[in-house]
């Protein structure tokens, strides 16, 4: 089953739902090693994104993601706003005009998005950021043989990447100010990224 406009919309609705549901969890993670707003930020942004999606018709998956991107950029702020904004902007650009996205093009869009995130934030894998969840997940997609199993593998890779942030010392973002004391905490942005892949798989499964 290819990625369609409707599946993309469904994905974004599910992601918004997860951000609302896990707001407190993400706030708690960000309180430990940041400033305690990641859950609030993502929830505010995705609420706004749903509003925008409701407000106008989107022609294709690319348009859906661009709408979300602009909503996030103009309502989230913080680190997450520009990073998720850039992610969706790049993915949206890669999927503009498409109607039925197959695995190679879907994986390529994710790669574009990840590159955007890294260009914006300068984080490398191992820096204890969302990049640690995103990178293995995108690689899993790239190495997969079909969309369904690829997304399953991506979810698993994102989850592992997210969990693997726990022992790391942060080198980017607010958590980096803690130095050694950033150890033993899971990164909030990697956690929201895990939910992003999880909802992508759920949306595709229908």
């Amino acid at each position: 089953m290819p990625v369609t406009r409707d599946a993309t919309l469904d994905w974004m609705k599910r992601f918004a739902g997860e951000m609302a549901e896990h707001r407190a969890e993400l706030v708690a993670l960000d309180t430990a090693i940041g400033d305690g707003d990641h859950g609030t930020n993502m929830n505010r942004g995705m609420t706004k994104a749903l509003e925008k999606l409701d407000g106008a018709e989107q022609a294709d998956p690319g348009a859906v993601l661009k709408t979300v991107a602009m909503a996030l950029v103009s309502s989230v702020g913080g680190a997450a706003g520009p990073l998720y904004g850039t992610l969706f902007l790049q993915m949206g650009g890669a999927l503009a005009g498409e109607t039925e996205v197959d695995l190679p093009r879907y994986a390529a869009a994710w790669r574009k998005g990840l590159e955007g995130v890294q260009a914006r934030g300068k984080a490398q894998p191992g820096d204890k950021t969302m990049v640690d969840a995103m990178t293995p997940a995108v690689e899993a997609l790239e190495g997969a043989s079909d969309l369904d199993s690829g997304l399953q593998a991506a979810v698993q890779a994102a989850e592992e990447g997210m969990k693997a942030t726990t022992p790391l010392i942060a080198r980017k973002g607010r958590a980096s100010y803690l130095g050694e004391r950033s150890k033993d905490h899971q990164d909030p942005g990697a956690t929201s990224t895990y939910y992003l892949f999880k909802t992508a798989a759920e949306a595709l499964a229908g």
Binding site: T31, D35, N41, S75, V76, G77, G78, G81
Partner: protein, 333 residues
């Protein structure tokens, strides 16, 4: 969580309404996107200066909007940097044809959002120069990290750049001066208590009844280490030593000494700390030419303080002394 608010989500909008009610005779408040701008902006021929950042640090930045300091401020949600559209609109609102300086505290979020805004601003034929502040010696600096945080020196950069802009210095001159101020300033902070953001409702960190947190930032983030609370003289030493060593400051230097409250500290304690700071500065042969004592860059209701030392040159001194007329900083006007 007990706060003088109506609802956690409404804090910024409600506070802006208060600012408008209080200072509507001198500033205009835009709600969407959110920014506070001088009523007489854009001032033709003058370099515009804007800054912005998460809310919860008041009076920074909104309290510094006015003649001699900022032309506009962009408040984000509490502890969350503002969004590019706020900065873009503020930039347009203050551009009097001489370009606009963005004063940005070095946090990942602030930098990225201002980057996006500067890209947009430039594309609309407004020349933008960015001055990044990163004076917090509590943070290790390296190419591979987010770098040092911008803290106390930001207030000084805003004042001094504001003075220079009012004096019709060029965009490049104002920005270069701002960068010089940042390079000559060093800060470090400490906390006796954490703070609670309206969004989280929980203390930003846990601290024992006899512990202090040394090396904190302004977002309730934990510091570099904690220790048993000691006398004010020892706390001053803890903050002053890394500051003095870092620049380094040396005998005969003329400095501005800034003792800043984190928001919940009684002023009597800040004056007491200033006495300790002046003593240590004297022992190191520094000559304190100017001082600033009070709550100027805060972290909600956090108790604690930060110290900023700025090594002054004549130009900085001139523009520090220049008239300023804002809700939070005012003299000569």
């Amino acid at each position: 969580m007990k706060k003088l608010i109506n609802a956690p989500d409404a804090v910024l909008q409600d506070a802006l309404r208060g600012v408008e009610a209080a200072h509507g005779d001198r500033v205009r408040v835009s709600y969407d996107p959110a920014f506070i701008v001088r009523l007489d902006a854009p001032v033709q021929g003058k370099v515009g200066i804007i800054s912005g950042g998460g809310s919860g640090h008041e009076p920074m930045h909104g309290g510094y909007v006015g003649p001699g300091m900022l032309d506009a401020a962009c408040p984000g949600e509490v502890f969350t940097s503002p969004t590019p559209d706020q900065m873009t609109e503020a930039t347009k609102a203050v551009d009097g044809g001489a370009g606009v300086v963005h004063i940005v505290k070095n946090y990942t979020g602030d930098v990225m959002n201002f980057d996006m805004a500067a890209e947009l601003g430039r594309s609309e034929d407004i020349e933008v120069e960015t001055v990044l502040t990163n004076d917090d010696v509590a943070v290790e600096d390296s190419l591979y990290t987010a770098g040092r945080r911008g803290v106390g020196v930001t207030v000084l950069v805003e004042k001094i750049c504001g003075g220079a802009a009012e004096d019709h210095k060029s965009l490049k001159e104002v920005a270069d001066l701002g960068r010089r101020v940042n390079s000559a300033g060093r800060s470090m902070g400490m906390a006796l208590t954490p703070c609670i953001t309206p969004g989280s409702g929980n203390p930003s960190f846990e601290l024992g009844d006899d512990e202090v947190e040394i090396g904190i930032g302004i977002h309730g983030e934990p510091g570099r280490f904690r220790e048993k609370v000691g006398p004010a003289s020892q706390i001053a030493e803890r903050l002053m030593t890394p500051i003095l060593e870092d620049l380094p400051f040396s005998e005969g230097d003329r400095v501005l000494a800034f003792v800043n409250g984190m928001g919940g500290t009684p002023l009597i304690e800040l004056y007491l700390m200033y006495g300790e700071v002046a003593k240590i500065a004297g022992e190191h042969g520094l000559s304190i030419e100017r001082n600033l004592i009070g709550n100027f860059i805060t972290s909600l209701e956090m108790q604690g303080c930060s110290i900023t030392l700025l090594k002054l040159d004549d130009e900085m001194l001139r523009y520090w002394d220049a008239p300023v007329n804002t809700p939070a900083l005012r003299w000569g006007a």
